[in-house]
């Protein structure tokens, strides 16, 4: 079991690519309070994106502020000899309601200090907002985790993920799932029964060998290609921590978060807090999962050579079959050749103050990129079943409108129009509801 006496906390937040495209700001927030070496309270929050939540970035900021303040107090006050049941009852009966009240009070203070302007109301489609509509404007999710006195305490409302990772890479989800969260809706601090919508979790650190706790807004999980990404997260974190140490994990966090927030991932705002036990004895049970197919245009003769990754060249690469260290964060291992229509070369986010490091992905969601040279051997496994040369179209375009349409011609035009209309309209409506 790790000593719970010292915890390292790393946080990172990135503006989502979709928000960049829409000219919006980062509506996520994160806060940490560490009143003593043994106690950490950390929270992440995700302000809702709908226009009616016109101050959701303030709502999320206020949420993490009041949550960590309350969490630090609760963590410091866990009585000796308390049981998990006792602590969870305390969370449910006192801490949760206190948290919602504190957030609502903070919203009231914010409204008093910064009255809602006409522009904000117009953008939100409001004229004379009711008090409830004003609170609605601050809507946000929240995840709070408190590590103290050998316990992990969690409270959550809305979507997002909180994972506890053991020293051997197993993953626990301390907070039970909420069936109301179907991917398009979320519970929220702004709903009238917010205290009832909070979910709680209590874990004994001693009993579970917890070495890390990860809190993330939903942009992180929505970027992950695998359905079981949480399991893979634990495996990978343990392997990486054992190989590089916890400080290295902290240095990589902004990069991970940035990639998830990019258009290669969820394109949503992403915020992660990673709480690491400094004295954890990481002992991964499994090796880290390789990332999905990665492609570079490389010149690797038998004796080694140069890898060209978009605009970044890595010289002096050893021969194929040996790992290629790009920097302290990226190790490329030669794998199968898989060059074809599905391969792409993508560029990782720029590192502040550093050179571009081009990490190349060819995840199945990759965007188009310049074609690579054809491989000398092996054919690519096709994502799409191979398509033979398309047969000549046995159908023809509808006749151009010129004069009155005959019955059959009219029907043909109608068919063409409606089929295309239906398909396109469906996409439109998806966009309506996704955004």
């Amino acid at each position: 079991m790790p000593s719970p006496s010292t915890w390292q906390v790393h946080t990172a937040s990135a503006l989502g690519a979709q928000h960049v495209a829409m000219g919006k700001g980062n509506e996520d927030a994160v806060a940490v309070r560490q009143p003593d070496p043994d106690t950490v309270a950390v929270a992440v929050a995700d302000g809702h994106g709908h226009a009616r939540h016109f101050r959701s970035e303030r709502g999320s900021a206020l949420a993490v502020e009041v949550a960590t303040e309350l969490g630090a107090t609760v963590g410091a006050g866990i009585p000796a000899g308390a049981t998990a049941e006792h602590i969870e009852r305390m969370l449910r009966e006192r801490t949760g309601p206190d948290l919602v009240r504190a957030w609502l009070a903070a919203v009231d203070r914010d409204l008093a200090a910064r009255p809602v302007g006409a522009d904000e109301l117009h953008a939100a489609g409001l004229t004379k907002p009711s008090p409830d509509e004003l609170v609605f404007g601050y809507g946000a999710t929240l995840i709070l985790a408190v590590v103290s006195a050998g316990w992990l305490l969690c409270a959550q409302i809305g979507d997002g993920d909180v994972l506890a990772v053991t020293e051997d890479g197993r993953v626990l989800r301390p907070v039970p799932a909420d069936p109301r969260l179907d991917g398009s809706r979320t519970t929220s601090l702004c709903q009238p029964d917010a205290a009832d919508a909070l979910r709680y979790g209590v874990v004994s650190l001693a009993g579970a060998s917890i070495a890390a706790v990860m809190l993330a807004t939903d942009g992180y999980g929505n970027a992950q290609a695998r359905n079981d990404w949480d399991t893979a997260f634990g495996t990978d974190l343990a392997a990486l921590a054992a190989a590089h140490g916890p400080a290295w994990l902290g240095r990589q966090l902004p990069r991970w978060v940035g990639q998830c927030a990019s258009s290669d991932g969820s394109a949503d705002d992403v915020t992660v807090a990673l709480v690491l036990a400094s004295a954890a004895g990481w002992r991964p049970a499994l090796p880290a999962n390789p990332d999905r197919t990665t492609v570079v245009d490389a010149n690797l003769p038998a004796g080694g050579g140069t890898i060209v990754m978009n605009d970044h060249t890595v010289p002096n690469v050893p021969p194929p079959g040996r790992p290629v260290v790009i920097d302290d964060a990226t190790v490329l291992t030669p794998g199968r050749r898989q060059i074809g229509d599905d391969t792409t070369v993508l560029q990782s986010p720029r590192r502040p103050g550093g050179d571009d490091t081009t990490v190349v992905h060819s995840a199945y969601g990759a965007s188009p990129a310049a074609p690579l040279a054809a491989p000398p051997v092996t054919s690519p496994p096709a994502v799409v079943p191979p398509v033979t040369s398309p047969p000549p179209l046995p159908y023809a375009a509808p006749p151009a409108r010129s004069g009155p349409l005959s019955g059959s011609t009219r029907e043909t035009v109608l068919l063409v129009a409606l089929a295309a209309l239906a398909a396109v309209a469906a996409v439109v409506f998806v966009v309506l509801l996704v955004r």
């Binding site: 989502g16 690519a17 829409m22 179907d182 991917g183 999980g221 992950q224 290609a225 893979a232 990978d236 392997a239 990486l240 991970w256 990639q259 258009s263 969820s266 390789p290 990332d291 999905r292 990665t294 570079v296 245009d297 490389a298 010149n299 890898i307 605009d311 290629v324 990226t330 291992t333 030669p334 898989q338 391969t343 969601g365 965007s367 040279a373 491989p375 000398p376 994502v383 799409v384 159908y395 029907e411 043909t412 109608l414 068919l415 129009a417 409606l418 089929a419 209309l421 239906a422 398909a423 396109v424 309209a425 469906a426 996409v427 439109v428 409506f429 998806v430 966009v431 309506l432 996704v434």
Partner: protein
């Protein structure tokens, strides 16, 4: 900044854990077309339907490229005396090569079976947890000759089917709108062929609407309303 070296051998490499979790990808948006291939669709109707879909797919791909957060994955199924997949694997829209549908002689319209087949891929087990709401398109010129209601119930019992945007397209006068309305999203209704003279303009309007939907600040509710009414005024300045 170094430039790519020409004429180099392309190599595939896998990264050893760029980040924990196994890799990232855009969120999938499943787009499923269910097409009536009964005998009544034979001839000009089916030709036109094939042409329409083949024409529509590049536009969908164009729309997808403009998105930051979605990858459109297309499936298609046909139904006549039974329902079967025409494109079974979720296929990136840019890679779909539309193979024309054909009608079976004297085949019936087992629409309920089509809905059940849709349902089979929209379950919790089959859908990605992070998938966006699916889009389901049902195109028919007739009435169901099997149990439509049980098929629909099965579809709506799946999380993906219940959450999906569902659009029914009724072709001609023989389709039963009341039946199709149960399938269609209530905000959309059943789309009909009703005014031939307006169709070209309507198609143009829809394409304009789709492109403008990607713009910041688009009045989406207004666009929905106008599409539902089969009309759209490109000069409407409210959509900016």
């Amino acid at each position: 900044m170094a430039q790519p070296v020409p004429n180099k051998t392309a190599w595939d490499l896998t990264t050893a854990a760029i980040m924990p979790g196994g890799g990232i990808a855009k969120r999938p948006l499943h787009f499923i077309i269910a097409a009536d291939c009964s005998w009544s669709m034979h001839g000009e109707k089916m030709q036109a339907l094939n042409y329409a879909i083949a024409t529509m797919l590049p536009r969908l791909a164009e729309w997808e490229r403009a998105q930051e957060n979605a990858q459109v994955l297309v499936r298609a199924l046909r139904f006549d005396n039974r329902a079967s997949w025409h494109i079974e694997e979720p296929t990136p829209v840019g890679k779909v090569r539309w193979t024309p549908l054909r009608c079976e002689e004297r085949a019936l319209t087992h629409m309920g079976a089509a809905l059940r087949l849709m349902a089979s891929v929209l379950t919790v087990d089959q859908m990605e947890r992070r998938a966006l709401r699916p889009a389901l398109i049902l195109i028919t010129d007739g009435i169901a000759t099997d149990n439509f209601e049980t098929g629909l119930a099965e579809l709506l019992a799946t999380p993906g089917g219940a959450a999906a945007i569902r659009v029914a397209v009724a072709i001609g006068q023989d389709a039963r709108p009341q039946q199709l309305a149960k399938f269609s999203d209530e905000n959309v209704g059943v789309l009909h062929a009703s005014n031939a003279e307006d169709i070209p303009d309507l198609l143009m309007a829809v394409s304009v609407a789709v492109s403008r939907m990607s713009e910041v600040g688009a009045d989406k509710a207004n666009l929905t309303q106008q599409l539902r009414q089969h009309g759209y005024d490109p000069t409407d300045d409210s959509i900016v």
